[in-house]
């Protein structure tokens, strides 16, 4: 059993580190983890759930605003949504999403339709990828806890 826990823990550690190394996450996520204590054991999961819900909402907002068939493109609305998304992703440490949002915002300010659409697609892909990765990570965490082990603190540096 201990061996399994150790293996899971190692797996978890490696996986987490890979997420940082691949640029999915940054230090802000570590910050988030620090906030999770006995008082709020599912803090990270809650925040992230909120974040992904937010993503779905904002992306569909933007998709609607960028839909040419419904009329003119409302760049200011897209901009507002991007700003929101940027703030959220920055707060949870979703590094790639945040980086995309930065260039998305620039395209938006430049009223570059093509660029905006491309960014929107990328953001969509990126947040889904992150979601999958994080789900995997949470699954690992769960497995460790089920096996009776402790989720290890992962030192990124």
């Amino acid at each position: 059993m201990d061996a399994l826990i150790a293996q899971l823990q190692r797996q978890f550690r490696d996986y987490t580190i890979s997420l940082y190394q691949q640029g999915f996450l940054d230090d802000q996520f570590t910050e988030l983890k620090k906030l999770q204590d006995d008082g709020s054991p599912d803090f990270v999961a809650e925040v992230l759930t909120l974040f992904f819900e937010d993503c779905v909402k904002l992306i569909s907002n933007m998709a609607r605003a960028l839909d040419k068939t419904t009329g003119t493109v409302d760049f200011s609305q897209v901009g507002a949504s991007v700003h929101q998304l940027k703030g959220s992703s920055s707060s949870v440490g979703a590094k790639r999403v945040k980086a995309l949002c930065v260039s998305f915002k620039e395209y938006c300010e430049a009223k570059n339709y093509e660029g905006c659409v491309r960014c929107l697609q990328q953001v969509d892909i990126e947040y889904k990828a992150l979601k999958t990765k994080l789900q995997d990570m949470f699954n690992l965490e769960k497995q460790i806890i089920q096996a009776g082990g402790r989720v290890p603190q992962v030192d990124i540096n």
């Binding site: 937010d54 707060s91 949870v92």
Partner: protein, 902 residues
């Protein structure tokens, strides 16, 4: 006879008057248009003849003389004579041939006659029948002799002939007679022909006529060629006076030209040059060509290609020059245009490549700057963590050595922070991101405030003076933050390098250019050894006067560069004059506008606050301030002097130099203790307390000053050691250190115990951010109220009092900057009018609370996303006290709370 004819004709030539070479109808006008059609300058052989005919053309005597005396003239004559001789020879030869022919024919005829005579033996009887020319009489005699010789043969022949028939002889005689007649007739015709041909020869070969015709042809040819050619020809004598000139486009009369030199005739550019050129040719004796551009009143600007050759007389002496000029203005123009085009092309190409290079370099530079800015920003966050932690550490129990080490650590960290902030500032200015505000402000207050702040950290016995001319308006419009930054920078430099005497700011209006304002900062002091040659590099980045200076005074070396850039950004200029041992004056001139009274800017509050605490109303017009160190023995120990008066009570309890842009700055030992000393020193305690209680100094202004005057803290560090040794003495220093550590400990304890739970308001629209921030706050042991936008924030502030507001900058409905301005306006005026005007729905509330609230300044901390639009400057300008860059971290929050919640 032929030879005779030749000489005759030459003699005749001298006498005969030849007609003009040119049509006569033209010749009559020749006088008016000098030498148009009369090429007086044409040095033809028979020139003098022409001149004789039209005697109005000048210099009748000189030309033949010239013709006779010059080599050219004589050689030309010889040529013509030779040619004529040759032609005469030819004619003679032809005549002789003709004569020979005739003679031969005659001989033949005679031979025939002889034969006939012999045949008929009539010769003796009819010698007269033989046609005779005078010259051939002897020939006839020879015939007779021959006849006799041939007699024998003829007798033999006669034997066969039947000459007895009469008819035959008769017939024969008749035939012979006819033949004879024909022969004589032919002879006569030949003679006629001969004489005729002789006659025609005589008339045709008259040399004068022939030569005249030749000349006419030549002249016609010349005329034909030259009539439209843009050519000037002439002959000038040794003194370069014109003797002859031919000019296609004459504008002067002949008499205006002949006998004069170029210089006498023309005035303008090129005349002298051509004259000199001619003289040169004359002196060198070598023909040569040159292009000369004339600009004369007479014919404007024209370029001539000039050919000049020297003229010699027969003795080989120079007697003048021949000169020929062709106008090539257009060609030269074209050529020059082509050259210019080619040159332009080359230049453009060079410029293009240069530009490409520059663009490349600029791009690189921009990238590098961007990089630097980003890097600096990235460095700032962890560094502030280090400094902040060090500060916290300094609040714990430490022994003396540890504290000293810690101080070094903090001051070094602070120095790096300062450097990074400078770099950020500079790169902002350079990349054009720096934006200037146009707000109304009171220059007197700015000057006063800068001096106050400087005095606050003054550790030398310097007098700070502010001198503002009466005509400086009470309020002007400009970017007060930047102006203050410049002043603070210059003043701090001045203080830093001045060891005793005065440091001051003079402010005056200079009239030209319109509404320019001069801020002259006088450092009339025994200045630091600023060498003249150090001045050029004063404004350069990272440059200090010398390596020694850097060691002695510290500093980043960016201060003046930033000042200069800022002044230039505002459309002014910063200059420095300096004399060793007498001080330096930095002068900057800025254009300014006078604000209109109705334009009540929201940004005003900061300065109105300042005005508030200056109770006297006529303070605004005060033009002179002076700040002196109060008591040297105490204050030279490194404490803030008068500046303390303006520090709020809160700050008095801690170290006076506080958070800068949310980062902990230098909690300098010296300053800390000096306050302690002050507190212990009865008299001053009272005063400072009085000041603080009566005039709650707005924290924003104070804070800002600190932010701007960061160099002070740093400077105080760099100077402290030297001062300790020179003024206070080490003993004193050490005793202070212990005291200070003790008090600060106390302070920390009381902080923990006594502070009631602070009320914090978070204004943020992003719920994830809210969630994260709230959770962090919880970990730090605080709870927060939440407002989702500026309007909600104002409503919340209106309803209850807060100790700290964390304000997102970019929010829907009402953004953080505007909300802050409205809150400040409320604090200032005690009412929400500005907010109501802005459309915020405020329910009027208890007036008491409002009045109480209005006296306190609510710390508002911005939360920025670190975009260019959300610059820290903008936050300060809108009345915020500090800012936290997003994403918010535990560390940042903790630092912030430590600074603002006590």
């Amino acid at each position: 006879m032929v030879c005779e004819m030749e000489t005759d004709q030459i003699e005749e030539m001298d006498v005969e008057v030849l007609p003009s070479m040119w049509p006569e109808n033209v010749g009559t006008e020749a006088d008016k248009q000098f030498n148009v059609e009369k090429p007086a300058g044409d040095l033809d052989t028979l020139k003098e003849v022409t001149i004789e005919e039209t005697p109005t053309i000048a210099d009748l005597t000189r030309l033949p003389e010239l013709m006779n005396s010059t080599q050219q003239g004589s050689s030309q004559l010889t040529n013509l004579v030779k040619q004529w001789e040759y032609m005469q020879d030819n004619a003679v030869r032809l005549l002789r041939e003709e004569l020979k022919n005739l003679n031969r024919q005659r001989e033949e005829a005679e031979a025939k006659e002889l034969k006939i005579i012999e045949e008929y033996k009539f010769e003796t009887n009819e010698p007269e029948n033989v046609p005779v020319l005078d010259e051939t009489s002897d020939l006839f005699r020879r015939f007779r002799q021959k006849k006799r010789d041939a007699l024998v043969d003829s007798k033999k022949i006669e034997i066969y002939e039947e000459f007895d028939t009469v008819a035959y002889w008769k017939q024969k005689a008749l035939n012979l007679e006819k033949m004879l007649e024909a022969s004589t007739e032919r002879e006569r015709r030949l003679i006629e022909k001969l004489s005729e041909s002789l006659k025609t020869m005589e008339s045709q070969s008259a040399p004068v006529q022939e030569l005249t015709q030749n000349l006419k042809r030549a002249e016609g040819f010349l005329h034909f060629i030259l009539q439209n050619a843009p050519i000037v020809m002439g002959h000038q004598d040794k003194d370069l006076r014109y003797l002859f000139i031919y000019n296609k486009y004459p504008s002067l009369r002949e008499q205006d030209i002949l006998g004069k030199t170029d210089v006498e005739i023309f005035h303008g550019g090129g005349v002298k040059e051509s004259q000199d050129f001619k003289r040169e040719v004359l002196e060198k004796g070598k023909a040569s060509k040159r292009e000369i551009t004339f600009t004369t009143d007479l014919f404007g600007s024209k370029t001539f290609l000039i050919y000049v050759e020297p003229v010699y007389n027969k003795a080989g002496e120079k007697i003048g020059i021949n000169y020929m000029g062709m106008e090539v203005t257009e060609q030269v123009d074209k050529r020059e245009k082509m050259a210019k085009l080619r040159e332009d092309n080359a230049v453009r190409k060079a410029m293009e490549s240069e530009l490409n290079k520059t663009i490349h370099i600029t791009e690189e530079t921009m990238r590098a700057k961007q990089m630097l800015a980003t890097m600096s920003h990235e460095i700032r966050s962890p560094l502030s963590g280090v400094v902040g932690m060090a500060e916290i550490l300094s609040n714990t129990k430490l022994d003396k050595e540890q504290r000293q080490l810690l101080n070094v650590m903090i001051s070094s960290g602070d120095l790096v922070l300062q450097l990074i902030n400078d770099i950020l500032d500079l790169s902002k200015v350079e990349s054009g991101v720096m934006r200037l505000e146009a707000t109304k402000f009171r220059p007197r207050e700015v000057v006063k405030h800068v001096l106050q702040t400087a005095a606050a950290s003054l550790k030398k016995s310097l007098t700070l003076e502010g001198n503002i001319a009466d005509d400086v308006p009470i309020e002007v419009v400009g970017d007060v933050l930047r102006i203050r930054q410049i002043l603070t920078n210059l003043i701090s430099n001045a203080i830093k390098f001045t060891h005793e005497g005065n440091v001051g700011i003079k402010l005056q209006v200079i009239s030209e250019p319109p509404f320019a304002r001069e801020n002259a900062l006088n450092a009339d002091t025994e200045e630091h050894e600023q060498n003249e040659n150090a001045i050029p590099c004063l404004f350069k980045k990272y440059m200090q006067a010398s390596a020694d200076h850097a060691r002695k005074y510290g500093g980043t070396g960016l201060g003046l560069a930033i000042c200069k850039q800022l002044v230039e950004l505002m459309g002014g200029q910063l200059t420095v004059t300096s004399r060793v041992n007498e001080g330096s004056t930095f002068t900057f001139i800025l254009p300014y506008k006078v604000g209109t009274s109705d334009d009540y800017s929201d940004d005003q509050d900061e300065f109105s606050d300042m005005a508030d605490h200056q109770s006297e109303p006529d303070d605004t017009a005060e033009g002179y301030f002076q700040f002196k160190p109060l008591l040297g023995s105490i204050y030279t120990n490194g404490g803030p002097g008068i500046g303390n008066d303006f520090l709020p009570h809160k700050v008095m309890l801690t170290s006076p130099i506080k958070l800068i842009n949310g980062f902990v700055a230098d909690p300098s030992n010296n300053t800390g203790q000096s306050e302690m000393l002050q507190l212990e020193n009865g008299g001053y305690v009272d005063e400072s307390k009085l000041e603080t209680s009566s005039g709650h100094c707005p924290e924003s202004a104070h804070q800002y000053e600190n932010g701007n005057g960061r160099c002070f803290s740093k400077e105080s560090e760099s100077c402290s050691s030297s001062q300790a040794s020179s003024e206070g003495g080490t003993l004193e220093m050490e005793s202070e250190l212990t005291v200070s550590s003790h008090t600060e400990e106390e302070k920390a304890e009381t902080d923990l115990k006594e502070t009631p739970k602070p009320k914090i308001l978070l204004v943020e629209d992003n719920k994830i951010n809210i969630m994260v921030a709230k959770s962090m706050m919880k970990q730090l042991g605080h709870s927060m109220d939440i407002a989702n936008n500026g309007v909600e924030a104002i409503t919340a502030i209106n309803h209850s009092s807060y100790d700290l507001v964390l304000m997102d900058v970019c929010m829907p409905v009402l953004d953080g900057l505007k909300a802050t301005r409205l809150i400040r306006s409320y604090e200032e005026t005690g009412n929400w009018n500005a907010a109501i005007e802005a459309g915020v729905d405020i329910k009027t509330l208890e007036n008491e609370q409002v009045s109480v609230r209005s006296t306190n300044r609510l710390p508002i901390i911005a939360m920025t996303a670190n975009t260019l639009a959300e610059s820290s400057e903008e936050c300060y300008a809108n009345g915020m006290d500090s800012f936290i860059s997003k994403p918010v971290t535990l560390q940042k929050l903790r630092e912030c709370l430590q600074q603002y919640l006590h």
